[in-house]
Symmetry: C2
Subunit: 197 residues, 2 copies
């Protein structure tokens, strides 16, 4: 190969990123080398910085740079209402919508008998503790509409029954969605949950 | 937003890589944070290293970690035969095939009147110098089979005519290619260059 070891190693590391294979990693590295000053050095510094400071929030499981994350320590957010999500990416997606102003709880995955993921591998015990400790009145189960997501939602609902109001996200036609391209399950859900205009 | 500034900035920088948009950059950064020790720190170090050591070969334009690259300083490669490519990614692709054991010359792009790229913006003067200085007997124009690539090949061929043997890569059916999916131009080229079995 014509690349020297340093460059070779960078390509190998980059190819481990989700969404990049060996070919796109090579392309990205060549791009980085072309933009050494503008992109490669700042990126190296930024990664070093994040690798030193990033940590999981001890309370909710969000990723941030302090032991208790910005969302948990924000006095302007409502207490008493908790939105449960599978992972940090889901929390960020919720935050981008800006629709929810309460607190979050990140499970860190879904229950999966096949992969040996039980309640104690997720942050479910912590969730139950928080419901008590923070006097939560409503828990929104914003889990993915997948089999594993819904299994996990059912399990949590069983654990928290009678202690708290449990809700889940509405299911129906996505905004901008065309009926022609929707699956049967979504159309059925949207029809069953139809509402007066 | 729930991400703190450090993480936000890393996402922004990552999203400038070719092949990554804002969404996949977020996904990549979350993955990196999850694998802090195994991936993020080594990647930061590797980028820092490459940003300090990577440079363009003064002779051929390849990317490496010394002023004269491994390929130019390799005594086991043939002198006198030069393979001209558009950019470093093409050189690496040629090297992966392992079929060529001579020297390379990287142009750094193609001629383009629209984008204001003339011969002096590319490494064409250096190519002409090398043909004299290194007593080159054959120049292989391994440029892309695009309009710009072929225009550039014609220009170089004009400049070097009568001084050196000029060749280009054969055009035809790619290995594993199905006729049904090939464009007319490729089929025409393959038919015109047909050979006895």
């Amino acid at each position: 190969m014509s690349q020297t070891d340093d460059i070779e190693q960078l390509i190998e590391l980059m190819s481990r990123l989700p969404g990049l294979g060996p070919r796109s990693a090579r392309r990205a590295v060549l791009h980085l080398i072309r933009k050494r000053g503008l992109l490669l050095s700042p990126l190296a510094r930024s990664m070093q910085q994040v690798s030193e400071t990033a940590r999981e929030c001890l309370n909710c499981g969000n990723v941030g740079t302090s032991d208790i994350c910005e969302l948990c320590s924000d006095d302007n957010r409502a207490n008493g209402i908790l939105c449960v999500v599978e992972d940090v990416a889901d929390l960020w997606a919720m935050e981008r919508s800006g629709v929810f102003k309460g607190r979050y709880h990140v499970l860190g995955g879904t229950l999966s008998a096949l992969d040996g993921v039980g309640p104690d591998e997720l942050r479910i015990p912590q969730l139950i503790n928080r419901v008590e400790a923070e006097a939560i009145s409503e828990v929104i189960l914003a889990l993915n509409a997948t089999i594993d997501g819904q299994t996990t939602a059912h399990y949590i609902a069983d654990q928290l029954e009678h202690r708290v109001t449990l809700t889940s996200l509405a299911q129906g036609v996505p905004i901008g969605g065309e009926l022609d391209y929707l699956d049967d399950g979504t159309i059925t859900a949207a029809m069953n949950a139809r509402k007066p205009i």
